[in-house]
Symmetry: C2
Subunit: 358 residues, 2 copies
């Protein structure tokens, strides 16, 4: 495929250049938003909590007939915002680590928000959960031991459960409140915790990995939030080194890896670190998820030294795993063709992220 001469790409530059200076610092919240005004004291209270680290505006006062509110986010996404109409706020508490919010939306079902960033909606969680689980697990033969880092909502566990070869699933989630909230409000995701193969560890993933025997896992899935707040360490080199040690030879990592439209520098950094750390394959894939910034989410797939892993052509196709397609509920997004298509990258990304051209 022709790839151009690697010359500047305005399409991308517009974003990269302006994102860093057009809107002040990433987490800046316009002062008017922090002081949302309303004659409804209950409403004002909601505003305050919602804006803790998100992009918010007094447009919550712009309610329809039913008094619905509009909710904004996202600090990783300057210069724009995706707002979801709020039918009802169902839960809002501060945990030890972050603010946890659940609301019923008008058109996306229930929504889970951590520190002002949408983590999942009932409508489109299928795309993220299915892809982050099956991209790695369908790339190796008969995965047995799997670790999930983060993923406290349980959705990734639900997807891993489709793989009958798996004998043992560890999950290390730092925030127990996320698990509890998911069990209460997102039973279709939290059902993942009911699999008897699941062992829950509430705590810090880096500490957990330090005490993990080398080579224990066939696959590790990092379902973390954005690299702000408690997940900050999860995009740094020591973390990836610990992951690599915990994987068997030719074991695989699948790591959430941001948006190809918005975060090319972050993607390049992650790939660079992973190329140094993992001695097998390093590949980038993506999927359409409407409620994530720019409507996409990326995945970084890495394998440790050993027989090469062909991430693009699943050696363990889900369609051939008996009952996998309908375990619990039917697959909604993932299929083997989608698996391979996820690795096809737009020309600008191949040009911008040097390491994707190797």
């Amino acid at each position: 495929m022709a790839d151009g001469a690697g010359k500047g790409l305005e399409c991308q530059k517009i974003m990269d250049g302006k994102a860093s200076n057009g809107n002040g610092t990433k987490n800046e919240i316009p002062s008017c938003c922090l002081k949302a005004k309303s004659s409804d004291p209950e409403f004002e209270a909601k505003c305050h909590s919602i804006v803790v680290s998100g992009w918010f505006s007094p447009s919550q006062t712009c309610s329809g007939k039913s008094g619905k509110n509009v909710y904004f986010n996202n600090p990783m996404w300057p210069g724009e915002a995706h707002s979801i109409e709020v039918e009802k706020i169902l839960y809002k508490e501060k945990s030890l680590y972050q603010e946890v919010l659940v609301f019923e939306s008008s058109t996306y079902g229930k929504v889970l928000v951590l520190d002002g960033i949408v983590q999942l909606t009932e409508k489109d969680e299928c795309a993220y959960q299915e892809m982050i689980a099956h991209l790695p697990l369908c790339s190796i033969k008969s995965p047995k031991n799997v670790l999930v880092v983060g993923g406290g909502d349980g959705g990734v566990l639900r997807e891993i459960s489709r793989h009958s070869s798996v004998e043992h699933i560890d999950i290390c989630e730092i925030d127990k409140m996320v698990i509890d909230v998911s069990k209460k409000y997102f039973p279709e995701l939290a059902v993942g915790f009911e699999d008897p193969r699941v062992n829950l560890h509430v705590g810090d993933a880096i500490e957990f990995l330090r005490s993990t025997p080398e080579g224990k896992y066939d696959a590790i899935i990092v379902d973390s939030s954005d690299p702000v707040g408690p997940a900050q360490e999860l995009v740094e080199k020591p973390f990836f080194e610990t992951i690599a040690k915990a994987l068997r030879p030719a074991g695989v990592l699948c790591n959430m890896a941001e948006s190809m439209w918005l975060h090319t520098h972050l993607i390049e950094d992650m790939i660079s670190i992973c190329r140094e750390t993992f001695k097998g394959s390093v590949r980038y894939a993506w999927a359409s998820v409407p409620t994530y910034p720019s409507g996409v989410i990326g995945f970084l797939l890495c394998s440790t030294a050993g027989p090469p892993v062909d991430f693009v052509n699943p050696i363990n196709p889900i369609e051939k795993l008996e009952g996998a397609d309908k375990h619990g509920r039917e697959l909604r997004f993932y299929n083997s063709e989608m698996h391979s298509a996820a690795f096809v990258l737009p020309t600008f990304l191949r040009r911008e992220v040097r390491l994707l051209r190797d």
Copy 2:
């Protein structure tokens, strides 16, 4: 590929069910939005114009240090909104057909808005223009005569220009103001009009097609706005029949076809009409475009009776067309792998849209 038993899909139902009744009619604008209040009279004037048919809120008053505004849309997208921070409004007029707005955004470059709906941004227009042009033109050998319906910004023309086999390009755009505005504010798109092969017809596409000799075109590209306002007729059967007549045997149509996440019913209707009208292949493809609703846009590819057209595997790959990759500017999104990947559909879409399973 396993496709499930076609049972109900909550993922999709949540949207389809609630979209139609959760938020009132599609074009409803909360009354508070129509009466945006501000102490700045100029600002109020802007608000009024911007909300003509979009979803808007007084959060425009939620400006940052520099007095930046936030802009909302989209009537095809109830229950949510994508807002783009406005640096400066550059143009705003009512044409005979619609409201035309151009603004400079913080992070997406200049933005063209028609009747409150974002048509393109400088940052991500590459994905849409390249895909809608090259999906059809790379699917047939040596296209010579091409018609563009709509596309007054010129971006599709720019992409067609890469094909040296093309001898004649007609474009039929109803709204001259869109062309003039593009020439002034979007020279990187309007450059398409400078190709000497281009013949501009300002007028109604249906009338234009009525006076077109049968079998004239190898390819027709319908780059219309959403089926509200002047583009309403462009999703109806008589229109597709006229298109089919204007195409040669085994000629191809590429038609903008909404979001797979939001508009499955509309997609199903379009496919159904096209299956009746076109006697060759009918396929659905999609691409990631961050500023379109749900971050994706679909394309309907149809061919008339004759030797079958394999839309999935480009017979006329762009990488083999000398100079095509760098004609004018380098390709940013499209490549032959992306062409094929665009036809890979999520499981829910194959399950929901019955006709995609045939």
